[in-house]
């Protein structure tokens, strides 16, 4: 299913049908809300977030909708903080992935105010309010803000994403040498946290399900450019990314580069691989 739906608002203040489970539960929720309200009156400001909701299994959530939550605003608050607040104080069924809270685990790429962003790395104060939070576009929604990542992982794993070389030194405790320049060359490409923001932003990937996508190509770049793998392996790697659904699909729209939370120059890397592929083809001509 797609996330491109028209917005139908459901305030959490109105009891929706599926939540009328039992009296006791209502009390518990009322309690929760009391606590939240007390916090709200203390806070100087509050911010509204409109969050996409969908659950294939639960009556009332089978049709996607948006819920609006009003959360107290504090300095330094991120999108993820607001979601956690809403979940822990208003609706414990609100579902999203998150873990590290510091832009390293790559769990919480979301579609916020119409752009792919990491929830934990996006300051509330940098956005226009109310803030609209949706799951990543062009991916199957599992529930609320959680999308199915399998396709992304498959693409990542299709480019032989592991180091391969025939040049391991034989000496005991001897490392392979690598120049500082070469390490610097691959540095940005090694920063990827598999968040899938780039893939979600890419028009080509949206139209061609088999397109490797920016992150997987970047992964290939990371190894192809690593001098420790050797020339032969580089040829092999270039063959992989030259396939039908590889680098030549990219139309340099830069959307991936714009959204990458790790500032990886994805489009540049893809372009460079294209040039390398041309060079190596000429060599064998």
């Amino acid at each position: 299913m797609s996330t491109q739906i028209t917005e139908t608002e459901t305030e959490t203040e109105t009891e929706s049908t599926h939540q009328k489970r039992r009296l006791a539960e209502k009390h518990a929720r009322a309690d929760m809300r009391e606590r939240a309200k007390a916090d709200l009156s203390e806070a100087e400001e509050s911010v509204k977030i409109k969050v996409f909701r969908y659950d294939p299994e639960v009556e009332g959530k089978k049709d996607p909708r948006f819920d609006t939550f009003r959360v107290p605003f504090t300095k330094g608050m991120t999108i993820l903080d607001a979601l956690i607040y809403a979940r822990d104080h208003f609706d414990s069924s609100l579902t999203f992935r998150h873990s590290c809270r510091q832009a390293i685990c790559g769990s919480d790429a979301l579609f916020v105010n119409g752009r792919q962003r990491l929830g934990c790395k996006t300051q509330m104060s940098d956005l226009e309010w109310p803030v609209r939070i949706e799951p990543l576009p062009h991916a199957e929604v599992v529930k609320d803000l959680v999308v199915d990542m399998e396709h992304f992982y498959d693409q990542m794993e299709s480019v032989e994403p592991f180091f391969q070389t025939n040049e391991i030194p034989s000496g005991e405790l001897e490392e392979q040498r690598q120049t500082r320049e070469n390490r610097e060359k691959v540095k940005m490409s090694t920063r990827c946290i598999w968040c899938a923001a780039c893939m979600s932003s890419c028009n080509i990937a949206a139209g061609d399900n088999e397109y490797l996508g920016p992150a997987a190509i970047n992964k290939a770049y990371r190894f192809a450019m690593d001098e420790r793998e050797g020339e032969e392996m580089k040829e092999h790697r270039l063959n992989i990314i030259e396939q039908e659904h590889g680098v030549w699909r990219c139309q340099t729209q830069f959307s991936c580069t714009v959204v990458c939370p790790k500032d990886i120059p994805l489009t540049e890397h893809i372009q460079e691989l294209k040039r390398e592929a041309v060079k190596s083809n000429l060599k064998f001509w």
Binding site: V58, G76, T95, G106, F163, R177, Q178, E229
Partner: protein
């Protein structure tokens, strides 16, 4: 009933779990990983600093072992520490051969840098993101080998036989909840289960740990009968951002960053916390100083102090500490070139954990543990920076090999209640710790279950019943219980500890346990029910919190990370021993086992830990 069968099951896919799986695979085992997060989401990715390993001329494993023993404040076990120091060079070079992008010297060799408490610059690093590269490099190797990964499977119970004596029990697998489908499935491990579930910082309300670091491994192993060791030793980091717990590295103070309070006083000097070292004093000293400032009303918003680096100048900051600018901006909304950064102490690392020997084996046959969830013990009462990552790869690899059937020789560290040297007899607790209902134990209690498959099936049934109840009954939400628990821990079992506070914490923990009896999950869905997962985690947090507090109350001395107001000295005559807590089917048993200071070639002589 869905049942998966493998030779070795690794629970957790951070640095320790990945290394263990690769090692078991290399020994020819059919190994599978079961993990609640996709491997690359594990918190190993957050480590910045580096990996200690004696790689260079002028350095050797004995120096590394000595530094580690001294750093541990003589509470580490020599066989484990020496294994760590001996194996880490080879393991680090192995990572290099797997392509890990280490920082490089002019000559192309991997770079090393100095770190606190080390007599040689042996911290091997990959930029400011060593953990990220270590995690990804090893996951790449798992992909290469085609090792099966069950990702987003939450392991909630071990399948262990029900012999009275934990040392006679065997582990035959575990039970997991398939987060996407809601199905509860069994995992049968013919050769062993390795727990590698990482830290448990969520016991506190402010931590550098991830939200997923909830101590599931220690709690499950503990309830299955494995003792937990030295749980009172928790490391706090003095400079974390108040709103998220994101760590601001020592580098800022190393470059000349200044700490000051609300009055604009440079309190480390002004109030004599560390007249010589000032901001560069050790982690625990700085953390206590900051909290004292806040407690005495000189904090900002009664919560934090300021760390200022503006005087270093933009050029130097951008050159040396660029990542700090981003961290402060992204996670705190503060531009450290323009204003000082708010910082406060946060939980950082747990030295204590599941008791194992230096082969990663617990006292239950077929059950192993490695990484931060385990305690071998290499860190004793205080971990040195850069010593956790080598622990993941060294002990992870050993656990993997051992589970796969490789003979690693007899372990030097004894495990299980039979290693007991002494009972704790006069611990005065205000409330009864442990289970409310003495039958509340994770081992099958309905007769002699010994057939492996029966043990696994029984565990699956028990878990289905538990989840059904949680989903169907009425009750309160776990979030409030978790919040109250975390607050009580931060207030009373923090860098400052005294008898009254610890007892208060035990009372709150007891209350949390009682309230947990009525906990219910309000999300009725089977699909990706994080409400359910978090509810199960909260129970684990309660068990872990209790063991930390009990250990802290028992230990009447100041050693390493454990500070007691009433006891301001390290007391070697009485306390060169590990605090052990066994679940004992619900009524916890606190006892001790001696520290092993006898190394391969020498005996480590306790000295004053001063730098």
């Amino acid at each position: 009933m869905t049942l998966h069968e493998h030779d070795v099951i690794v629970v957790g896919a951070g640095g320790a779990g990945l290394r263990a799986a690769i090692a078991a695979h290399e020994e020819g085992s059919d190994v599978a990983m079961v993990t609640k997060l996709h491997p690359v989401r594990s918190h190993t990715g957050a480590a910045e600093g580096g990996i200690n390993a004696a790689l260079r001329d002028g350095d050797d494993w004995e120096l590394h072992a000595y530094d580690t023993m001294k750093g541990s404040d003589y509470l580490g076990d020599a066989p484990a520490i020496e294994t760590l120091a001996q194996d880490s060079p080879e393991e680090v070079i192995q990572l290099e051969h797997w392509g890990m992008p280490f920082s490089r010297e002019e000559d192309g060799r991997v770079s090393q840098r100095p770190f606190g408490g080390l007599s040689f610059p042996r911290t091997t690093y990959a930029g400011a993101e060593t953990g990220h590269h270590l995690l990804h490099t090893m996951y790449e190797q798992v992909v290469k080998r085609g090792i099966k990964v069950y990702d987003e499977f939450y392991v909630s119970r071990l399948a262990v036989t029900d012999h009275d004596d934990p040392e006679e029990r065997s582990c035959h697998g575990c039970v997991a909840y398939d987060i996407k489908s809601g199905e509860i499935v069994g995992f049968r491990a013919t050769d062993g289960v390795i727990l590698a579930t990482g830290g448990d910082g969520q016991v506190y309300d402010h931590t550098t740990n991830a939200v997923a670091n909830t101590g599931d491994g220690p709690a499950m192993a503990y309830r299955a009968g494995v003792p937990v060791e030295d749980m009172e030793f928790v490391q706090f980091h003095p400079t974390t951002l108040p709103s998220t717990g994101v760590l601001i590295s020592e580098g800022v103070r190393g470059e000349g960053g200044i700490l000051y309070n609300r009055e604009g006083e440079r309190f480390m000097f002004e109030y004599g916390y560390a007249n010589n070292a000032g901001e560069l004093a050790s982690r625990d000293v700085v953390a206590r100083a900051e909290l004292t400032e806040v407690n005495e009303g000189r904090g900002i918003n009664d919560e934090y102090v300021y760390l200022d680096m503006r005087h270093l100048g933009e050029e130097r900051i951008v050159d040396r500490l660029e990542n700090i600018i981003h961290l402060a901006e992204d996670f705190e909304g503060v531009d450290p070139l323009v204003e000082p950064m708010p910082v406060k102490p946060g939980q950082h690392y747990h030295m204590g954990g599941i008791e194992t020997d230096e082969n990663g084996e617990t006292c239950i046959e077929g059950l192993y543990a490695a990484g931060e969830c385990a305690c071998a013990s290499v860190h004793g009462s205080n971990r040195l920076g850069g010593n956790a990552l080598p622990e993941l790869i060294v002990l992870g690899a050993r656990a993997g090999r051992h589970a796969a059937g490789t003979d690693l020789g007899e372990a030097g560290v004894p495990t299980g209640p039979s290693a007991k040297s002494e009972d704790e007899t006069d611990l005065d607790t205000p409330v009864q710790p442990g289970a409310l209902d003495v039958d509340d134990s994770d081992v099958a209690a309905d007769g002699a279950l010994v057939e492996p498959i029966d043990v696994v099936e029984h565990a699956v049934e028990a878990e289905r019943e538990r989840v059904r109840q949680l989903l169907e009954r009425d009750g309160t939400n776990h979030a409030e219980i978790r919040e109250d628990l975390q607050k009580a821990m931060t207030e009373n079992v923090n860098v400052f500890r005294n008898e009254d506070g610890l007892k208060r914490a035990l009372e709150v923990i007891r209350e949390c346990r009682e309230r947990y009896q009525d906990v219910a999950v309000s999300d009725p869905s089977r699909t990706f029910n994080t409400d359910l997962i978090h509810t199960i985690e909260t129970r684990n947090l309660i068990d872990v919190a209790e063991t930390i507090t009990l250990g802290a109350l028992a230990r009447n001395e100041f050693r390493g990370a454990h500070w007691r107001q009433e006891y301001q000295e390290r007391r070697d005559d009485e306390w060169l021993k590990h605090t052990m807590i066994a679940w004992n089917d619900g009524s916890p048993d606190l006892y001790y086992k001696p520290v092993i200071l006898e190394g391969e070639n020498k005996e480590y002589e306790p000295k004053v830990r001063s730098y």
